[in-house]
Symmetry: C3
Subunit: 273 residues, 3 copies
């Protein structure tokens, strides 16, 4: 099933600006079940933008908390038996409570155990958003049947893969790359802000998944939530890169810019198509 | 049992300065059983101020190490079965060896399992200091009987709750907020340095708990230890905020200032009452 | 068996420069089984220098990944039952696949369980490099028989200990300190770049171990790999210290400098003997 990607965005930069306004007015509580590498960084990104992170990832508490959180991030960067157990419970309670959750299937396709874990979680509860790079999204699309998408070596191929997985899961799928693609299987949003240094700081993508969970907590349309998160991070990255000497100063400036960025900045500077 | 908070501080800024001199002259070995989100940040805060952190939080080693550490931090930010087990063993050996330990009951009251864990640890061994925000302290005070303190929506209410828990536990209790309250149930110290950006960096409070364990290792009076830790962090934060654009540069500057701060700075700038 | 350290370096600064050129031309995939305190920092150091970190430390995946990684770091900073299990599996598969691995025995000698773990791992598979401070290396050398080296209170004693362990393990041994010593039991390389602030940032040594795994992936001679990693980190630290006010800004500048450093900088500035 090869899609012809004819869908075009109906989103405007002002839609993204409005989403940031909503986040600032009603700071969401974002539960993160994420990896030990980026846990502190992710919390700092959420705090910087104005959200309230809660890293509740043990199986005794993850389900109960998912029921009261505004959004939930499940990131498979460093899963262990204990935290994987917590993930199953979190998505089950998120489903019951109607809490939107985001799946970030780090390294899916490259490592067997977590690929299987990602597939199980997708079967247990529909995520609002699945966010990954092209090969991770391909692994999940292919893993559920492997119909027609076999490589992701072009932006157009990445867009196709995203639409396949969005169709399969009835979720919004966001594929990160030089061009970010976001689709619900019908609409396709492309964003082209950002800087290569985002790939020289660990957790650039992981932070984006967390921001998507934050926006999904305050914006009902998950395409808008995913696009607003992407634009907020990448427009802030544009600003941060201009004042940085390398990835160390870039990461610091990025946190500053996530606090300083205003809805009007998104309206003016988000490159969306 | 509603206290009338008539107790006033007998501490002077010079007492806090002397505590920092003691810490610099005899750098304490501080064992941290803390959460994965802030473990690196906490170690960096301790190193910056001149202490020696040791993040020994597995059950095979936590007890033995608590017997030789100068101070122990037990922070409930991300407890797992494995590390919770290590906490029980650490406080047991800290008690036997007379090592002062600090309990930071992150999110107590909001999450059932860790609230129960905090209460168990309090029964097993008396901490030198319990540090938290007002609602965490309220949860522990209420959890042990709930006598008369039902809300913490004013600084005075926070002070009352602190005195209740200090009485119950025979520990020093420190309640963090715009005004920091520290009490042993008789004396009440109020400190008003600090900056709102401390709440926009993950681990501001967690770092404060770690600093309290460091000062408790070198200062016999736990009220002085808790107040010196609070003043060191918040006076450094005052300096850091003046050179920062946002929470990213603030966190970096805070580490610098924790190294640069001298006892004379506390004597001159700590706002204590 | 007390060695007379007569061995001298046959390495030149240009050898180190060539190693950095190799790393930049063929960015290695470095699997890190490391501690929760420095996991993010370590990943950022590897990304900054141009390597690709992968923190795969669960027992379901660690072995398979060690077979495909370019180099593996095993760091004992915060071992748990789960991750220790993963370490055994990783070194077993690294051995089978011929993947070079680096052991960083954090706190060996001071804590019994991890000392035993380090000794087991050394028996299971020969590491390319063992990196530690003098007392950690002494603990491993003595633990394997304790022949003649009983203190490490001088650079010369540290060099002796390194040669003893290198002989025992048939591995390269790197002892970090104001002077860094690297030996395979025959050759002895001394490096004297660096700055005391490297000891005021958590994970200075841990990052060095990770860089050794990165260089070991691209340079066949493990003495060269260990020396190139040491020179890259410490020459970058020299630059970073000149633009820093304290350990916070130093850590940020160090990441920038690890990206900016060029092979020619090593050729010009590495102090090797």
């Amino acid at each position: 099933m090869v899609h012809t990607v004819s869908a075009t965005s109906t989103l405007t930069p002002q839609d993204l600006a409005d989403a940031l306004t909503a986040l600032r007015e009603r700071p969401p509580l974002v539960q993160c079940l994420t990896n030990v590498v980026v846990a502190g960084w992710t919390a700092n990104v959420l705090l910087a933008v104005g959200a309230a992170p809660a890293m509740v990832d043990n199986p005794h508490e993850s389900g109960d908390f998912a029921a009261i959180a505004g959004g939930v991030l499940v990131n498979l960067g460093t899963p262990y038996d204990d935290t994987a157990h917590a993930m199953h419970l979190a998505v089950a309670d998120a489903k019951l409570a109607g809490t939107p959750w985001v799946l970030d299937p780090v390294a899916a396709g490259a490592l067997a155990w977590r690929t299987s874990l990602a597939q199980q979680l997708l079967r247990e509860a529909r995520p609002a958003i699945v966010r990954g790079n092209a090969s991770e999204i391909l692994a999940l699309a292919g893993g559920a049947g492997g119909r027609g998408v076999e490589s992701v070596d072009s932006p157009e191929a990445a867009a196709q893969v995203a639409m396949v997985l969005a169709d399969q899961q009835q979720s919004v799928v966001a594929v990160s790359g030089p061009t970010d693609h976001i689709t619900d299987g019908r609409r396709m949003v492309r964003l082209t802000n950002g800087h290569p240094w985002l790939t020289r700081v660990t957790g650039g993508g992981c932070a984006l998944g967390a921001l998507m969970a934050a926006f999904a907590a305050v914006v009902p349309d998950a395409v808008v939530a995913a696009a607003a998160a992407t634009a907020t991070l990448t427009v802030a990255a544009d600003s941060a890169a201009r004042q940085s000497r390398g990835p160390g100063s870039f990461a610091v400036a990025l946190l500053d810019e996530l606090t300083l960025i205003e809805p009007a900045d998104l309206a003016e500077r988000a490159r969306i198509s």
